[in-house]
Assembly symmetry: C2
Homo-oligomer: 280 residues x 2
């Protein structure tokens, strides 16, 4: 951890830190100012924590902090005290604070408010939308799942490759490709790494995989199609029949599923419960 | 391992397999036919092995195998015998063979021949070029190096993301972008994930990385520029100054270097010796 702004993420603070000085940094999710005492909920990547400001301790610091609009970014250095009444068992009594960024007021959209937000507004303010726990959860689970897929494939002798995305001619028919002006020529965006993967089989590399970009120029009006997407793509040689490929893919899917299952907090924030799976 | 065509890669065969039946599969690198005995060098992803065919044991099988052109693909089931005179300490005495693919004759280029091959010929026959040990070595080292970078970054709290490659407007000036016909609109290929990475910092995800595609439409006539390339790209927030980033990148580079150093055979085939490195 870089010590200047943050010695601990919210989640990393435990008994060992009680009665010690720590630094925390993140976004102000909420401020409750009761006049002589104020409670600031600070959010970082791992969760939230409470900063308890007493006016009598440091009037200047108190005023500075309570005047900040929500979603401002601060770093706070202070004493960590055990407090059973606080959600995660401790609070921080600030001694110093650095204001890293003061947010606009009013914000175009809230982060924790329960009010409905239009989809357009969310897209226009994606950097705020992504502060929501349930939206970040998707990124965190995705990271875990990708990692488990790669580890599984490497364990099974697959080599990671990266194949070209600008290609000279269509791989599976010409209608659904994006055209690229490639200097004096016309090129296309790859629909899939298909041909490259197959060519790699002829080289003897035997088993390859790629987290591959797919570019598909089909017009659609469903929410199940993407013109640009990524996928875990594999190719393997010397198989007996399709069962061999299915076995690898089934086992990989189970590993990915199980790694998602370890993201308990993230799944909870999404309101999802994953059942146990096993290979067919 | 899938048992039908191959129970072992060449490298996996050791004392435990001596006097046992094994199956091996791969490309015929060379055949030396001495009339009553023939030596076939079979190449798989992990190396080569020797198949020793005795005419008197099975005339039909002998004729079938020795008549194959080099670079044909076969699977051989046979007895593994210790033989100190053979390069890797054993030979296979074939009992059955399946011919999976008979190669063209003459081949457009050789795999192990010492004769010079024009660069154009190599590109036109990339699937053969990639059978060369020294060309495959690049793919294998690359795989190891990427894996070590990812493991290092995950250990340091980085989350893997994949950002869009088709973008609506230039990130760093408009001259060096590839134009894409995006339905009725004009779009561009991403020069770098810069803006997305930065936006992710504003979300609080804190540390992200991507094996990112870079598309850059600069004309060039050097061998050091690529219009399409991949890179390990990171972004981190709450740093004190550039030293924090440099520390991460330096340590990552050292890990990548050290993981390349473990690829002893591959480096040897490339004629490269890597010196020890440490962080500055």
């Amino acid at each position: 951890m870089i010590e200047k702004y943050r010695t601990h993420y919210s989640k990393e603070i435990g008994e060992k830190e009680y009665n010690n000085i720590v630094s925390v940094a993140g976004w102000i999710e909420d401020i409750r100012n009761l006049g002589s005492i104020a409670f600031i909920i600070l959010r970082d990547r791992e969760g939230t924590l409470q900063i308890t400001c007493l006016k009598k301790n440091n009037k200047e610091l108190f005023e500075k902090l309570v005047s900040l609009p929500r979603e401002s970014v601060i770093s706070v250095r202070g004493l960590c005290k055990e407090n059973e009444k606080v959600r995660n068992g401790y609070e921080i009594l600030p001694e110093e604070a650095e204001i890293l960024s003061v947010s606009d007021k009013p914000l175009p959209m809230g982060v924790v408010d329960r009010t409905g937000i239009e989809f357009e507004t969310r897209l226009d303010n994606r950097f705020i939308d992504l502060r929501k726990k349930e939206v970040q959860a998707i990124f965190k689970i995705r990271d875990k799942v990708i990692d488990s897929a790669k580890n599984f494939l490497r364990k099974n002798s697959f080599i990671e490759v990266h194949t070209p995305k600008i290609i000279a001619s269509a791989s599976e028919g010409g209608t659904d490709l994006f055209k690229v002006e490639y200097f004096e020529k016309i090129a296309f965006l790859a629909q899939s790494p298909q041909l490259y993967k197959q060519m790699l089989m002829a080289t003897g590399l035997d088993r390859v995989f790629e987290i591959a970009w797919y570019f598909r120029a089909e017009k659609h009006n469903t929410t199940r199609h993407l013109n640009e997407s990524t996928a875990v793509d594999i190719e393997m040689a010397f198989i007996t029949n399709e069962e061999d490929v299915m076995k690898i893919l089934e086992n990989m899917a189970v590993e990915m599923w199980n790694s998602a299952k370890t993201c308990e907090e993230e799944l909870e924030s999404l309101g999802i419960e994953l059942e146990k799976v096993k290979t067919p």
